[in-house]
């Protein structure tokens, strides 16, 4: 059948079959080799974190992928097509051109008894980024995130000098059975590390400064709308992971939510809330 095989003849039937068979083998082998080469190229270009986030984002429930403008009621319905990176979003760019978003450093938003100072920007994975006067950016976990994690069992921080990417892993926190990847709100180089007791986790020298560098982060009036949505998500996550629904209207989340729900699958709750 094959040219070097017993029985092979150079006629149309043999050549068509042989051609089809070899074409299939070549296509399959090329596909696998091509995937290997591309993966190697991605590894060299340090694309791992970006690809991990895109993969995670695609697997989030549709309801968790809604555009920030839906949270605020500006749009009725829209799924984010940019994996929460509004820096490249034309729609968001046009919107803020016509509706500038104000920051109010003097205010502090109080949502269900949790403080959300408006001197910083918030990432939808429950981290914040605060631009400092010396040009650095301080990164921390917002108050809802802190109440979810309580006192962490362990924290894995990157070493000073390490690079972090927006939506990539900033650091990891272990709490009970949960091993949570905390997403970075900014691109940059870590210059100092803090910890749970210091109120912040990383000090970063950002790759870019100014408003466009923080365009993808929530601010001002968006924060309250987003948090109301987050409380609904938390409620659902708790119910679906085996905790009784207890967040009645007007209630305030306790300091260590994990301790209040010993029966809940905390790994799943944290995965849901920290967008992993």
């Amino acid at each position: 059948m094959l040219p070097w095989n017993y029985g092979f003849e150079w006629n149309a039937a043999h050549i068509i079959f042989l051609g089809a068979f070899y074409t299939v083998l070549v296509v399959v082998a090329t596909t696998v080799v091509s995937a290997l080469i591309r993966a190697r190229r991605d590894l060299g270009a340090k694309e791992t974190e970006a690809i991990r986030w895109h993969s995670d984002f695609e697997e989030l429930p549709v309801s968790d992928r809604v555009c920030r403008h839906v949270l605020t009621g500006e749009f009725r319905e829209r799924t984010c097509p940019n994996a929460f990176d509004c820096r490249h979003c034309e729609t968001h760019g046009k919107w803020i051109e016509h509706h500038p978003m104000a920051q109010h450093p003097e205010f502090e938003e109080d949502v269900l008894g949790m403080a959300f100072p408006l001197d910083r920007f918030y990432h939808r994975g429950h981290t914040w980024a605060r631009p400092e006067e010396d040009g650095t950016v301080t990164v921390g976990i917002d108050e809802l995130g802190e109440r979810l994690l309580g006192v962490p069992d362990a924290v894995e921080l990157p070493a000073p000098g390490a690079r972090i990417q927006t939506n990539g892993t900033a650091f990891r926190v272990h709490k009970r059975d949960a091993d949570v990847r905390i997403l970075s709100p900014v691109d940059g180089e870590v210059i100092e590390t803090g910890g749970p007791g210091r109120g912040w986790y990383l000090r970063v020298k950002p790759d870019a400064t100014g408003e466009p560098a923080f365009r993808h982060l929530l601010r001002g009036a968006e924060v309250k709308a987003w948090l109301n949505r987050e409380m609904e998500r938390l409620q659902l996550a708790l119910v679906s992971e085996g905790a009784a629904p207890t967040l009645a209207d007007g209630g305030v989340p306790v300091d260590d939510i994990a301790a209040s729900y010993p029966e809940a699958d905390w790994d799943a709750v944290c995965g849901e809330m920290f967008l992993e």
Binding site: V32, S34, A35, P61, S240
Partner: protein, 424 residues
């Protein structure tokens, strides 16, 4: 104990419960391996097949599982080539089912053919006049494709994707999966057809012999159509079964209905084609071979009921159910129709394999009967056990149903609403 390997946000039973579910299947697999081992070591004298009855339970099993496993190629074709996005909900499960069916079929074929150390002869010294050569080449290639398609599912495991190389390879391979889907469709089209074709060209067996188009007998096309028709039904059926066994919602009802509609449409076309083919065979092909068609059905238990069951009970009836929108709304009807369609393809493959060989064709031929030996049954059961084990393992550790997490949250929301409604 193994929680860190299970997809985050989905619930699976305890390790102990999982192992106790796997144990009986593992025992069955061990028994099957013993049976297959006996056949390989001692030869086909361990079976009840002989030179006259050379195709038995194993070939019936092969043809059936390959037809049922067609859901993998057909779902891949619909999702990646025709962009029917809703089928993303079942594609991973379809790939695992396809892999289990095809690898199981190849293993049983290896036992049936024997001499595993000479398995490579089929590629090196192929019989250029046999349709089975095309089947062998296509199935081997498609099994390779299925294994490559299974790879991203495995590499997406929660712990494996922590390894950057695995994560990136999975991502890049997944981006090229449409190429594999295209190749899979091409290969499946031909080997499903060739499996049917190999019966249709049996001039010495007028019960199976069919006319056709150019070199392809009608059975070539009927096998392709029937496999494409029952593939979605089998996915529907297995998904429903997994939902019942695991007591979880895995896909949205709309996906079940879509699978049903696709299956119903193709089943209707198949039933029509099969009916036309049967009429041509009764009125022309068979008489030209010197047999009146009724003669085939005078040998009990193969009466005309079998033809009626094949075309009406397991063809027309499920097609009508699946094509009726009102009935598709009910899971009971959907699942029953899908089960009937799957039985139908199994019956068709049984008829083509066993009835064809049992019927006498020469005046001195006796009517043959065949009953498989326990070694044959054991090998058959090994494939079933192997399938259950691989699927159960995959269901536990890999994300076979991407919508499961979202559906869990939706159910929680409904429960929450119900609780609030009860409170106020």
């Amino acid at each position: 104990m193994d929680k860190q390997f299970i997809t985050r946000g989905v619930q699976r039973c305890s390790t102990g419960k999982f192992l106790s579910w796997m144990l009986p299947w593992a025992v069955l697999l061990a028994f099957g391996l013993l049976s297959a081992g006996l056949c390989l070591i001692k030869g086909l004298n361990q079976t009840n097949m002989d030179n006259r009855f050379a195709f038995g339970l194993w070939i019936f099993l092969d043809l059936t599982v390959i037809a049922l496993g067609a859901g993998a190629f057909f779902t891949g074709f619909l999702l990646y080539i025709l962009k029917v996005k809703e089928l993303r909900a079942v594609i991973n499960s379809a790939v695992v089912i396809g892999l289990v069916c095809y690898s199981g079929a190849v293993c049983v074929l290896a036992v049936d053919v024997g001499q595993p150390l000479r398995a490579w002869f089929t590629f090196w010294y192929p019989n250029v006049h046999s349709m089975l050569t095309e089947v062998t080449f296509c199935i081997s290639c498609y099994l390779t494709v299925l294994m490559i398609e299974y790879l991203p599912i495995v590499l997406k495991n929660r712990q494996l994707r922590e390894v950057p190389s695995f994560l990136l390879f999975e991502h890049e391979l997944h981006k090229l999966v449409y190429v594999l889907a295209g190749v899979g469709t091409f290969l499946s089209f031909f080997h499903q057809g060739s499996l049917g074709g190999l019966y249709g060209v049996l001039r010495g067996r007028p019960f199976a012999f069919r006319e056709g188009l150019a070199v392809w007998p009608s059975t070539f096309f009927l096998f392709i159509l029937s496999a494409a028709a029952v593939g979605p039904s089998f996915i529907l059926l297995t998904t429903w079964l997994v939902e019942k066994i695991s007591r979880k919602r895995l896909v949205r009802p709309e996906v079940f209905r879509l699978l049903g509609r696709i299956s119903g449409l193709l089943l209707a076309v198949y039933t029509l084609a099969k009916s036309v083919d049967t009429l041509i065979w009764i009125n022309r092909t068979s008489p030209e071979s010197g047999f009146a068609a009724w003669q085939y059905y005078s040998w009990k238990p193969f009466g005309t009921w079998i033809l009626f069951a094949e075309i009406v009970l397991f063809g027309l009836l499920p097609a009508l159910i699946l094509l009726t929108p009102r009935l598709r709304l009910h899971t009971g009807w959907l699942v029953s129709a899908a089960a009937l369609a799957c039985f139908g393809v199994a019956l068709n493959r049984f008829v083509m394999t066993v009835q064809t060989l049992a019927l006498p064709t020469l005046s001195f031929d006796p009517f043959l009967s065949y009953f498989p030996s326990w070694q044959e049954v054991g090998t058959f059961l090994a494939v079933v056990a192997y399938g259950v084990l691989v699927y159960s393992f995959s269901f536990r550790y890999f994300n076979l149903f991407p919508e499961e997490r979202e559906l869990k949250l939706q159910m929680a929301a409904q429960e929450e609403e119900a609780a609030l409604a009860g409170r106020y």
